[in-house]
Amino acid sequence: MKTLLLRPTYNNGKDYAAQLVDNARYFIRSKHPQRKVWAVFRHALLIGVSFVILYPLLFMVSNAFRPPAENFDPSVIWIPKSPTLSNFADALEVLQPQELIGNTLAVTFGTSVIQAVICLVVGYGFARFRFKGRGILFALVILTIIVPPQNLATSIYASFRYFDFLGILSFLGRITNGAVKPINLIGSYWVSWLPALTGAGLRSGLYIYMYRQYFTGVPKELEEAAEIDGCGPYGIFTRIMVPNAKNIILAVFLFSIVWNWNDFYTPAMYMQNKPTLAKALSEFQSNLQMLSSVGGLNYDPIVVLTRIQAACLLAILPLLILYVFTQRYFTESIENTGITGI
């Protein structure tokens, strides 16, 4: 090892190019003082930025466990003098979690499973079949990513309120003299599940894109070998492609969990009567203030602060735990699916 680190010297007889190559190798492998300085600087920088990122989390934890009064105490910087769980108790009282948990789980997990499966099928279709209009249709998938969902919210609201799939229900209604009416889906889980089932849910376009990128990279030979063995297009998909795509499926599922968990618009617009955690959190501050002023407590925003932190911590704790165990799938999915740009 040590010989490698010595700067090579040659007589004139040696090849000049070889000398240059060896010089470059020497430079790369050596513990050059410049490189040492850079390594220290690099760690300092990364630790600094990591601190900025972790700061909100530390801030949240530190605040959530301190009694509200300690917010005024200049001697308390990070570690509360008398740690307390009262903030969590207060937060839970305002959030009313028994109602939220069911809604949040139904919306988050139900939708994520559906999205992971449906987008898989659609993404595979776009990646491995060369049907007519594929380019244009895929451009439309990209368009659905670009148009903000709120742009369409008004008319989607209307179509959920008077749900009438392709005019079938109103047609039946005309036949049966009004016995069948358009259904009101507002306030049911279907407002989240139905778009997911048809590849139009929250960020579905992005998942289709991710799957398509993945499947485009699978070698054609794999498919051809299966075809020779008598496997049809559906068999290839279910027996060869899907088992190989476990990681990307899991990644999409995890992304979908995170985004559905944090999503505020869908429940706020279409599920007013079934609040999820994200929606309850968005109303937390005003609810807390209302409750505390009724109870004759202090209306001061600083008093509210620690409870907000406790509520935020409660809301993202499940995601944080999930992330700790599955971090690899998140980061690798973006790095390895072959997303190469537009």
Binding site: T154, I308, L320
Partner: protein, 306 residues
């Protein structure tokens, strides 16, 4: 005879490819029902006065009056729009440069890079929703730049810069970045990974060849890395623009336009028509900036990829 043979041969290939339609069928249904139809509806709404009735929504056609009201009479919307545009113009270049910088560093081989990578992606998990707005409201408001919990004291930095005869505009710009370092860092999670994936696709032989030719790291970055990564730069810029324009917000903090559009449509007055018109104006603005980004970066990028 010849004709028959080709006829028999073509259908198998075509039939096989047509199965693609079966796979994308769910998406086609969803696209028609949850995208195309609402899109057309929302254009119709934007030219009308929308009222709820027991059988459905009633649209009275009012021509361009929603749009003229937005542009000429509404006091809030243009102002909010301007805030959002300023925000975007400010955020996107900084986020792009910052995430490229971090990605280049993380692409080097050293101990602990996976840990850093995990930390840098954490904001995507933590802050993609309401929590971020609440935190930035709470932290940016009183406690962060306030008294006892002050995190970044920019006043000190400001004084130093002013004493050093730095123009006041530059000073404001720098201190503003430091003030917003939170939101900017926290918004760069996906972008860092995108750049990282782009960097990993540049073959290391390219770098070695340059080193042998005697290029410095500085040269290599600007002559090799930067041009080769430009397709990814395009993607990052597009992602950041959309992210900035469609972020969650309330009328006090975050994305004010989205909050205003939402409140107009779903607030007390339920002005669906006016809300739709506003979101269309907003959408056209977004598309304008995406097109601009494409003209500035995308053309070069597609040349390199092609």
């Amino acid at each position: 005879m010849n004709k028959r043979r080709t006829k028999r041969k073509v259908p198998y290939e075509i039939r096989k490819q047509r199965i693609g339609y079966v796979f994308i069928l769910p998406w086609i249904l969803g696209f028609i029902f949850f995208f195309l139809n609402p899109l057309i509806e929302s254009i119709r709404f934007s030219f009308g006065d929308v009222k709820a009735s027991p059988t459905g929504l009633q649209v009275d056609f009012v021509g361009l009056s929603n749009y003229t009201f937005i542009l000429l009479k509404d006091a809030k919307f243009p102002q909010y729009l301007w805030v959002s545009i300023q925000n975007m113009l400010y955020e996107v270049p900084i986020i792009t440069l910052f995430s490229l910088f971090i990605a280049v560093i993380l692409n080097q081989k050293f101990r602990g890079r996976t840990v850093y990578r995990a930390i840098f992606f954490l904001p995507v998990i933590m802050t993609s929703g309401v929590v971020f707005t609440m935190l930035s409201g709470v932290m940016g408001g009183q406690s962060l730049t306030g008294t006892q919990n002050a995190y970044f004291q920019t006043t000190g930095l400001m004084n130093v810069l002013i004493q050093g005869n730095v123009p006041i505009r530059v000073v404001n710009f720098i201190t503003d970045i430091v003030d917003r370092i939170f939101s900017l860092t926290l918004k760069s999670g996906v972008q860092i990974l995108l750049f990282l994936s782009g960097l990993q696709k540049i073959p290391s032989a390219t770098y070695e060849a340059c080193k042998i030719e005697g290029a410095t790291n500085w040269d290599i970055f600007w002559k090799i890395t930067f041009p080769l990564i430009s397709p990814m730069t395009m993607l990052v810029v597009v992602y950041s623009i959309i992210d900035s324009f469609t972020a969650y917000g309330t009328e006090e903090a975050g994305n004010v336009v989205m909050a205003y559009i939402y409140r107009t449509g779903f607030g007390k007055n339920m002005m669906f028509g006016y809300s739709s018109a506003m979101s269309w104006v907003y959408f056209i603005i977004i598309m304008f900036f995406l097109a601009l980004a494409y003209l500035l970066i995308g053309r070069k990028a597609s040349k390199i990829e092609g």
